[in-house]
Symmetry: C2
Subunit: 333 residues, 2 copies
């Protein structure tokens, strides 16, 4: 087997040439990218991913590193009600990384962008001891249709798209392939897929596009990249409200519950993170309309209430419940 | 002396709260920042800076790390003819970094933005072994007034703003404080200033704003962040032309030449980099107008010619000259 050339072997200029096919041809080769003029508002978001912290060769192929990095940013755009225009890629890595690895990361980024929209419109590649990927995504939205976090109101219901805990389950299966001998191959595959190839919910944004402008003033939204509990806590904090999440309505994959039991399944659903779904607070009638639009993979999981408490309850009329707190949520340090 | 709290001591949420005063209040606290709607084109650029590679405690105070990171990006916007709207900040760092260090970096970023325009509109902070800063700047420009690299034409002249080699000289003085005992304190200070607090040439963009749209179709521009030679080589490559740089017109600071001698001064002027000035190719009459507008700190340094050769010549009519090549330019690997 011939050794693959490293980044240091070929140098910066040759590396940039090799990456050009992955990038927007119209927008490259100048000091900065020019995006088409628009009357819409520009939305911008940044995520940083570090080797050994946010990804690892053990669980993530280079294409998946690229896909996940883009999907995480497009998920932030979706949570703002915006559709993607382009991304910039800041990459720092040791000279010993193979060119092949870098190209496969760009391949994964390109795959995700082709599926959901947008181009790689710029970037920077520099040398460092640890591989690090900083993605900035730029999107566009009609100003009246921005989905904000601070619009939740008592009387609204809380809607979550997709399963929660699936990405965490996939990570477990990648770290410990023997962890779930009884799990059906289809479920195993879908958990791993949830971890390696998360889907930004731009489809929900597109469905909301058919709603009249007025309806957006009563919608609050956030993505669940840091967990379902984190999203509900943030929405409540930003809006100055409380929430009641109903335990039996939580979007826990049935196969997960069967595999790890109800306690751990609940924990992964609430705190596992990286599911990149949307959590919305909206009037009950709008929630019903959204469920009708989006089909089975969207659920009402709770209600917005006055006060500041976020409680996990067994029944809607349960007077008490288990408080959800920031302490259980993921922190970067 | 009390030990200063580290990032790990206080945790992510507390760190974000402490950084909030440095950021745009209007734009924070959601999944992504929304920038005001504009009919203009949006311009976006990214730079990554790594501890030990692009900055070091030995030569750069935290405020200067922040200032330089922003200035480098605003310089890219200036080279596109764009004025800044905002920046996103991707920061990865070990938990052992002090909160004070992070706040001082943000202070320096804020100082630069207050001076030249734009806000911190978003970001991400994560843990890593090596400190790294990824800045994405977003700017705006009337589409007809974008300054491109590929518009250089034979018959044009090459204009450089500011001194070149000054930043490299400042770095030398920071690394070896005893290197220039005979250097006047004022010159020493101005070289160090050039390295620690470079000035993005948005003033030139503002002066160009008074020109009619038509004049922009015959202007090529790039910033000199990777050196004057690198900028001229890129402009020529993008435009399919050659250039003749006139040795005695090069913007070498007189005090630098007196200090290190003509050979090294020429080398630092052409290849030192990080001066963050602008290099423009434009018709002679427009160059004269620009010089009149901008005053003494702008110079005609050469001419654009047919062919592909970039030569350093002693006289305008010199039939031969020293070819400038990519090999001498800085590469990241």
């Amino acid at each position: 087997m011939t050794a693959q050339p490293t980044v240091a072997d070929i140098g910066e200029l040759a590396l940039l040439r090799q990456l050009q096919p992955f990038c927007s041809q119209a927008l490259l080769g100048d000091d900065a990218a020019v995006l088409s003029p628009r009357a819409d508002a520009t939305v911008v978001t940044t995520d940083v991913l570090v080797d050994g912290v946010h990804f690892s060769d053990r669980t993530t192929a280079p294409e998946d590193v690229g896909w996940r990095a883009i999907a995480a940013n497009l998920s932030d755009l979706a949570a703002m009600g915006a559709m993607p225009i382009g991304v910039t890629v800041g990459l720092s890595l040791p000279g010993t990384v193979t060119v092949e690895w870098v190209k496969r990361v760009y391949q994964g980024m390109g795959d995700c962008l082709r599926q959901y929209g947008g181009d790689i419109v710029g970037g920077d590649i520099v040398q460092s001891a640890q591989t690090m990927l900083a993605i900035t995504a730029i999107g566009t939205v009609t100003p009246q249709r921005v989905l904000r976090r601070d619009r939740a109101q008592p009387g609204q219901v809380i809607v979550a798209t997709g399963w929660h805990g699936a990405s965490r389950a996939g990570l477990e299966l990648l770290l410990r392939p023997d962890a779930a001998p009884a799990l059906a191959a289809r479920d195993r595959q879908s958990f791993i897929q949830a971890h390696q190839r998360p889907i930004p919910r731009l489809d929900v944004v597109q469905r909301l596009a058919t709603w009249p402008d007025d309806d957006f003033s009563t919608v609050a939204a956030m993505d669940s990249s840091d967990g379902l509990a984190n999203a509900v806590l943030y929405l409540c904090q930003a809006s100055g409200v409380g929430a009641r999440l109903q335990r039996d309505r939580l979007p826990i994959p049935p196969a997960l519950q069967a595999w790890v039991g109800p306690k751990l399944a609940l924990d992964w659903c609430l705190y596992g993170g990286e599911d990149f779904e949307l959590v919305l607070c909206l009037p009950p009638e709008r929630a019903v309309a959204l469920l009708a639009d989006c089909g089975k993979n969207v659920a009402i999981v709770g209600t917005v209430v006055a006060g500041r408490e976020v409680l996990l309850v067994d029944r809607p009329d349960d007077p008490s419940g288990l408080p959800l707190t920031w302490d259980s949520c993921f922190q970067h340090f």
